[in-house]
């Protein structure tokens, strides 16, 4: 019998997400998936998973999870957070670990993840993944449709998330080096498809202004506060397809960037679309952050995507073993011993960090 992760507290909005479920938009079913697929891939790489395995996506405030399994290996990638490993549920203190690394936990231990800083989402990778059934080829949770992930909804207290593996690979823990989550100074966009519903002056205002991410941001879209964008031919259009990163401008003149759980079609004008290379960085920005946009040509976007994909594919090569015993992998220490030593090393490292 395989073990479970028991949810002691669910966090603000913790869902299972993978790379999404393309192929069903013509039936009204959104692609969905991780808001920040780059951090999801990092989390998967850190536990040795293929990139398409589902992980827990945490928004703003993290959950507390108890390990009801012999062992489980988790990883953390994305926003920063205070992450503590407690020896059991009754303990009030444990040891802290950093993000961008994996950790091996044993039965009874508890991982407590606090509020996120520097980003809207953090991913918890699980070696082997969670034992949840894919829906239309994906374990992503689509909240509005109530499908996918864990029972089609966000985690709640008392949930028991089944693990695919009861024992994990014997190896030392890994960390990711050179994983840069710094947002670009200006998010690149391609103008259109409804740019002809705005005057040139309005388009100029859009690109010359600073916008602030408003509190209405969720998995569907990010509402921006800033100068109002005036429509020259009305804001309603006959419903039209929606791309990832579409920036729609409804009647109030405030743009909304459409994210992972965007609806498949919509009836508002879209002034521009964030390019695919910049969308994960935009999606991970937290409420209150400021941002600017820039127009680019399609050729520049395609070149940016080539670089982006190469960067993402190089993630596994930037994973290195943690700690001072990193060079001793081929030595005569048994992997089990190595783990014990490494956990010691990690405590030192993280306390100083």
């Amino acid at each position: 019998m395989t073990g479970v992760l028991r949810v002691l507290s669910p966090g603000l909005l913790t869902t299972v997400q993978d790379l999404g479920r393309p192929g069903y938009q013509s039936l009204g079913i959104p692609v969905g998936g991780a808001l920040d697929p780059v951090s999801l891939r990092a989390a998967n790489a850190l536990v040795g998973n293929t990139p398409d395995i589902g992980a827990l996506e945490i928004a703003y405030v993290g959950p507390t999870l108890a390990v009801d399994a012999d062992e489980v290996r988790l990883s953390f990638a994305g926003a920063e957070a205070l992450i503590e490993i407690l020896p059991d549920e009754a303990a009030s203190a444990g040891y802290r670990i950093s993000t961008m690394r994996s950790v091996l936990l044993h039965r009874g231990e508890v991982v407590r993840i606090g509020s996120l800083t520097g980003g809207a989402v953090l991913y918890v990778g699980v070696e082997g993944g969670l034992a949840v059934e894919p829906v239309l080829g994906s374990v992503s949770t689509y909240l509005r449709g109530g499908i996918g992930g864990w029972q089609g909804r966000a985690l709640t207290e008392g949930d028991q998330l089944p693990l695919r593996l009861d024992t994990v690979s014997e190896r030392q823990e890994w960390q990711l080096e050179g994983f840069d989550l710094t947002p670009p100074q200006r998010f690149r966009t391609i103008v259109g498809p409804q740019s002809d519903h705005f005057s040139e002056a309005t388009i100029e205002t859009f690109f010359n202004s600073e916008y602030t991410i408003g509190t209405g941001a969720d998995r569907m879209g990010m509402r921006l506060l800033g100068p109002l964008l005036e429509h020259s031919r009305g804001f309603n259009i006959t419903s039209d397809g929606i791309a990832p990163g579409s920036i729609q401008v409804p009647g109030n003149g405030l743009p909304i960037v459409l994210l992972a759980d965007r609806q498949t079609v919509g009836g508002y004008t879209k002034i521009a679309t964030v390019i695919s290379a910049d969308l994960p960085a935009l999606s991970r920005l937290p409420i209150g952050n400021k941002l600017r946009f820039a127009p680019v040509k399609i050729e520049e976007a395609e070149a940016a995507r080539r670089k982006f994909v190469a960067d993402v594919e190089s993630l596994p090569s930037r994973i290195v073993p943690i700690g001072r015993y990193a060079g001793d992998l081929a030595g005569d220490l048994t992997p089990r011993l190595l783990d014990c030593n490494l956990i010691g090393g990690v405590i030192d490292a993280s306390v100083g960090a």
Binding site: P22, G23, Y24, Q25, S26, L27, G28, I29, V135, L136, R144, G145, G146, I147, G152, T189, I190, V191, G192, P193, G234, N236, I237, T238, S239, D240, G241, I242, A243, P244, G245, S246, Q263, T264, V265, G266, G267, K270, T273, V274, I275, S276, A277, I298, A301, E302, A304, R305, R306, V309
Partner: protein, 258 residues
């Protein structure tokens, strides 16, 4: 060949726009191009999503550049003709009893006809499924008779039950799940337009034809019980469909106030 524009929607999607209004002929072109693109199985195309008056093609630019995809679309458009063919025709039970059709009387009053005439006119047509969207399995069908075409209500309802049939300007739509909704509700169908169990599936596809068959509240309740038990079987008939363009294109943008 119809007029069309190819518009960029970022670097991973292109929009082929045939017009800006709800027009049955435009939808015929949209669906014909969608079919041709599906059949040509272009490497790099991820999915093709038809809407009322345009088509969005999602693609991977590293496998297929925007320029190549555009050229391919132009080529397909050259050989495109309005198609006649088999379509799935659904006869779907619909209950227009005012007890579950809260806006039936209002729509009748505004149209200057009796509620019975609203039912007769709404159910007396074969509708065309223009697109699915907004929610899983949510279908937009058209065109409704002119006298029944009404814009959104001033105040949306916070929750309407799954199966609700609404008037959405010149279209009629089915709500697949309980959801907030702003359109006038004139009936309800017991048919599951979106199912989660035992497998996730939707009922209608773009291009399908639908005729609503009026049923009493008692029949509706019976059918609902069957749907809940999983024994309600609704199958479409395959029919040869010839696309008749409407006499006059509807110029009102979808969602706009009348």
């Amino acid at each position: 060949m119809p007029d069309y524009r190819v518009l960029p929607a970022g670097d991973t999607a292109l929009v082929v726009e045939f017009g800006e209004q709800i027009d049955r002929q435009l939808s015929t072109w949209v669906l014909a191009l969608a079919r041709r693109l599906e059949e040509s199985r272009l490497n790099g195309v991820i999915e093709i999503v038809p809407t009322i008056r345009s088509l969005i093609v999602h693609y991977e630019p590293l496998a297929l550049s925007a320029a190549t995809l555009t050229a391919r679309i132009v080529e397909l458009m050259r050989g495109l003709h309005s198609e006649e063919g088999l379509a799935r025709h659904w006869h779907l039970p619909a209950c227009y009893d005012a007890r579950i059709a809260p806006d039936l009387h209002d729509v009748a009053a505004r149209a200057g006809i009796t509620p019975a005439q609203v039912v007769e006119r709404h159910s007396g047509l074969t509708y065309h499924v223009y697109m699915l969207g907004f929610l899983p399995g949510m279908a937009y069908l058209g065109d409704v008779p002119d006298e029944l075409a009404f814009p959104r209500m001033a105040t949306p309802r916070l929750k309407v039950p799954a199966g609700s049939l609404a008037i959405a300007t010149t279209l009629t739509c089915v709500y697949p799940v309980d959801t907030p909704a702003g359109w006038h509700l004139i009936g309800r169908s017991p048919v599951p337009f979106f199912e989660r169990h035992p497998t996730v599936k939707t009922l209608l596809n773009p291009g399908d034809k639908v005729t609503f068959v009026p049923v009493s509240l008692r029949e509706y309740d019976d059918l609902m019980a069957q749907a809940a038990a999983g024994t309600l079987r609704i199958e479409p008939v395959e029919e040869f469909v010839r696309e008749e363009p409407p006499a006059e294109p509807k110029q009102r943008p979808f969602g706009a106030a009348a």
